[in-house]
């Protein structure tokens, strides 16, 4: 069915193109026959007008996109540094829109305004050092500001110092799922290597070295829990190919590289529950559920089961191509109050308990 519709669309597009060509040709009929295939005054005039129309099109598509899709842009940040990133992001965006609006306007306006006419001669204007200096120096100054701002933020995000307050969590990537490891009571992650993965009939999920006492109280889980308001230091590993731990709500991303440990750190500021209640998120979830409801109708008509209602949860996605199921390599993140977190952590089985079974 879709194929038929698609085919019909393509045919219609073909017809439309053919007709536009016809119009171009017919409108040329009236004047003396010119088949040089070099643009004449009429072509210049018409295409000049289209250039101006195209400027309007660019503005309209910009405005329309913001109006129609604006709600999906940058969800509220849920980490401390996320707000810094967003501020810089909006400053950069404001600058981009300013420059974009002006340069596109000049480009297309000139294309219309100075369209060729017979007998008209262009201005011989080859150089102006002052002008060129101005539009070299303005980007220099603007960019210097952006670079400085960016570098300060970057350094403060990426400068990760070990400290007693912080919670160390290992993120472990494999085709095609995630695991997380907590350090347990001693606060130190035990040594680990892929060589140990086959020990204990595959129960050693992330390859902890059983001879390292630090590892015995480690906890390995399939769902990431984070306490609100406490700095988290992630140590990332991968057992097979490159993966990337992407947590868009926390403005966090770092590749997981086999053979080395990479790091990222942030402090969550909003629990899952609080995030669900923000007006933006509530509206988004409502919209998604409406879409899912509509899709379910079609599914039920085909004899399938309906889609579940959606409830917001923070996401950890894989964002580095890693194979067939790359598109479905995810882990749920739960941000909760410190005491709930501690309660949850206490319920998990430690590595020592796992290998004794």
């Amino acid at each position: 069915m879709t194929a038929v519709i698609l085919f019909a669309i393509l045919v219609l597009v073909g017809v439309a193109i053919w007709q536009i060509t016809k119009i171009f040709e017919l409108s040329q009929f009236r004047q003396t026959k010119d088949d040089s295939q070099v643009a004449n005054d009429q072509d210049n005039h018409r295409n000049g007008q289209l250039m101006f129309a195209f400027l309007v099109f660019i503005y309209l598509i910009t405005i329309y996109s913001f109006w129609a899709f604006g709600d999906v842009l940058l969800p509220d940040a849920a980490s401390e540094h996320g707000q810094d990133i967003d501020r810089l992001m909006w400053i950069s965006f404001a600058l981009i829109f300013f420059v974009q609006t002006i340069t596109q306007a000049l480009l297309h306006y000139f294309s219309w305004k100075y369209r060729g006419r017979k007998g008209q001669k262009a201005l011989f204007y080859a150089d102006n050092d002052k002008l060129e200096f101005i539009w070299t120096i303005i980007p220099v100054i603007t960019l210097a500001g952006l670079i400085m701002y960016g570098l300060f933020t970057w350094t403060s995000i990426m400068n990760i110092e070990e400290n007693d307050e912080a919670l160390v969590v290992e993120l472990y990537a494999q085709q095609f799922n995630w695991k997380a490891r907590y350090a347990g009571a001693d606060g130190v992650l035990g040594d680990a290597n892929v060589r140990f993965l086959q020990d204990y009939d595959g129960l050693n999920l992330v390859g902890i070295d059983a001879s390292d006492p630090n590892g015995l109280d480690d906890v390995v889980v399939q769902e990431l829990h984070l306490p609100k308001g406490r700095q988290i230091i992630f140590k990332m590993r991968s057992q097979d190919v490159l993966h990337s731990a992407y947590m868009p709500h926390f403005r966090a991303q770092m590749n997981c590289v086999p053979g080395m440990i990479t790091e990222f750190s942030f402090t969550p500021t909003t629990t899952t529950e609080e995030m669900r209640q923000t007006p933006d998120m509530a509206a988004k979830v409502e919209k998604i559920n409406k879409i899912r409801y509509e899709n379910s109708k079609a599914l039920i008509a085909d004899g399938d089961v309906a889609l579940d209602a959606y409830q917001f949860d923070y996401l950890l996605l894989c964002n580095k191509i890693c194979g067939a199921s790359h598109y479905n390599m995810q882990m749920k993140i739960v941000v909760e109050e410190e005491r709930d977190f501690n309660k949850w952590l206490a319920q998990q089985t430690t590595f020592a308990q796992t290998i004794q079974q």
Binding site: N44, S65, I96, D127, E132, Q239, G259, H326, Y327
Partner: protein, 587 residues
């Protein structure tokens, strides 16, 4: 060797196949590039269908993908293979070989006043190596386990281990072999361009009188010679890792239930090597397009290009900077964050020469007498997409902001606009403008107008909304978004994008028809249809060996004396001597 063009008898084979004439080689490059382009674009339409209507059955999938689309539903591995080969074909085969290969070959000897390239033989070998690599790349589509599918950047270990995905088997081997041959071809071509520009300029053609096209091709060739060998070494090391048990890029790997022997290598090393070519490659693609635009814009505006010196300086600055910014693809690869700071700094510096170029183009239009030929439209379109796409580079080049949008659709939108669409526009501008020189006939202008306007609208229609889904956090290279209900509200945007993409694809058929039909039935071209100043338009319409029947013309002035006061015509070809008392512009 140029001057001797003794009339030895030409057979079909020496004239059309193993030709050493730069004009014929240019046409060979163009046609091979266009065929690869058709395949690359067709692939993008296939995976756009999948993205708009995920996991739906389409008869086109069944027809083209066969057993890889059981009952017409695309397999995830095939999706990855399609995006990989689409990227490879478009970046290397269409926009590097197809664009640079065509126009460097055609224009360097013609515009500098040379009888041919410095070495016709190397030039011919360069083309045939390119052809061979194309054949191998296409052959890889037909192997049992499928073509390479690790993304066009083929990061190991995914690309190194056949256990990781089926495409990393024979398909990847063929990909690597094809690219190694491609690089050899590119190096031979580039060396030839460099030598030709330096040694074979006609009398009077000083470097400061070179048309900007030649400057762009010349500098592009230098970047290619500097950076392509590094990719070759990366490819060779990857072949070693794959087939001979070395561990350059691999360490501590457990896959499919077994621990592999690799120890001590690092995938990050591969990323460095790849992007040391990969980023300059962006400019290898873009600079020729900008060079073509400079020429087409000035000719059709009937005005000198504004700020010739600044344009040359910015080409040189971009070329230099392009070799020290590769790390901005690796901000979150795990490399030292301090390197991230350095690369942010160098990357954002590129915005300066780029801005100068954009402003100079706009000023070139100011108070011009714009002749809206199809080539001109594509050149204006290039400036537009170059600005739109380039500006978002301010976000991606900033390590802080890159954290959140890295590898999302925001990146896809950015690079498609700034290098994909812009370079394609450059290619189209070049084809429309120099078609009379290549084939002695004119292309139909009305079909050209339709081609441009439909393409221009669709290009923004496709890539503008992509910024939004990227900012929403949607990663690229996802076979479908259905695994995340969180992205359900982006589904309708994906449908819009796909519809624009299909229309854009259809518009390219208009171009193809125009191109082929005009070769045979186009109106016969006059010697200088666009009233241009450069030397290629002083050669006869019918191609001859050695380009000029008599002596090579001498160059008396720069290439941009359009609408010069005190002259009746609004153009003065470069070989016309300065009139009594006329001064050459000091540039």
């Amino acid at each position: 060797m140029g001057a001797d063009h003794a009339h030895h008898k030409e057979t079909f084979i020496t004239k059309y196949i193993f030709s050493q004439d730069h004009k014929m080689i240019a046409k060979q490059y163009l046609i091979t590039g266009l065929i690869m382009g058709i395949i690359g674009i067709a692939m993008s339409l296939l995976f756009r269908l999948q993205l708009a209507w995920p996991e739906k059955s389409f008869w086109v999938f069944e027809t083209f993908l066969g057993k890889w689309a059981p009952e017409g539903v695309m397999d995830p591995n095939v999706y990855l293979a399609l995006v990989t080969i689409h990227g490879t074909l478009m970046v290397f085969f269409v926009l590097t070989a197809g664009l640079s290969g065509t126009f460097s070959n055609l224009l360097i000897p013609l515009q500098i006043g040379a009888r041919d390239m410095a070495s016709g033989l190397l030039n011919m070998i360069s083309y045939w190596l390119f052809f061979l690599s194309s054949v191998i790349m296409i052959a890889s589509l037909f192997v049992e386990s499928g073509p390479a599918a690790a993304g066009w950047t083929i990061y190991p270990p995914l690309s190194a281990l056949p256990q990781a995905q089926p495409g990393s088997g024979l398909g990847m081997t063929l990909w690597l072999v094809s690219m190694a041959i491609f690089i050899a071809s590119s190096l031979l071509g580039s060396l030839n361009y460099i030598v030709t520009v330096i040694n074979l300029r006609t009398k009077g053609m000083s470097m400061t009188r070179l048309p900007l096209t030649i400057w762009a091709f010349f500098v592009t060739a230098i970047i290619g010679v500097v950076s392509f060998p590094v990719l070759l070494s990366a490819a060779l090391m990857l072949i070693m890792d794959r087939s001979f048990g070395t561990s350059f890029f691999l360490s501590d790997i457990f896959i499919q239930g077994e621990v592999l022997h690799y120890q001590g290598g690092s995938p990050v090393l591969y990323e460095h090597l790849f992007w040391f070519l990969g980023h300059p490659e962006v400019y290898i693609v873009l600079l020729p397009a900008l060079g073509i635009t400079s020429e087409v814009l000035a000719t059709n505006a009937r005005k000198p290009i504004f700020g010739y010196r600044a344009m040359v300086a910015s080409i040189l600055a971009i070329a230099f900077l392009s070799t020290i910014v590769w790390g901005h693809h690796m901000f979150i690869s795990g490399m030292n964050p301090f390197l991230g700071s350095v690369f942010t700094f160098t990357t954002l510096l590129i915005a300066i020469p780029s801005a100068v170029k954009a402003f100079n183009y706009i000023t070139t239009l100011w108070k011009g007498n714009l002749q809206m030929n199809p080539g001109m439209l594509f050149s204006i379109g290039l400036v537009s997409t170059f600005i739109s796409g380039g500006l978002t580079g301010i976000i991606l080049g900033d390590s802080t902001l890159d954290i959140n949008v890295h590898d999302t659709y925001f990146v896809v939108a950015h690079f498609h606009l700034v290098m994909g669409i812009s370079a394609l526009y450059g290619l189209f501008a070049g084809v429309y403008h120099w078609f009379p020189k290549m084939f002695g006939r004119m292309m139909n202008k009305n079909l050209g107008y339709v081609h441009f306007w439909v393409t221009a609208i669709c290009a923004y229609g496709v890539f503008f909304p992509m910024h939004f889904i990227g900012m929403a956090g949607l990663p690229r290279r996802y076979y479908s978004n259905t695994a995340f209900p969180y992205f359900d509200d982006l589904a309708n945007i994906n449908v819009i994008i796909t519809i624009f993409a299909l229309i854009a694809g259809a518009a390219q058929l208009v171009f193809l028809y125009n191109f082929i039909a005009s070769i045979f039935y186009g109106k016969k071209a006059v010697q200088n249809p666009w009233k241009s100043n450069t030397l290629e338009w002083t050669t006869p319409v019918e191609h001859i060996h050695g380009n000029w029947p008599g002596e090579i013309p001498h160059v008396e002035r720069w290439a941009y004396d359009y609408s010069k006061p005190g002259h009746d015509e609004d153009f003065i070809p470069q070989n016309v001597p300065l009139a009594e008392g006329e001064e050459e512009l000091q540039h």
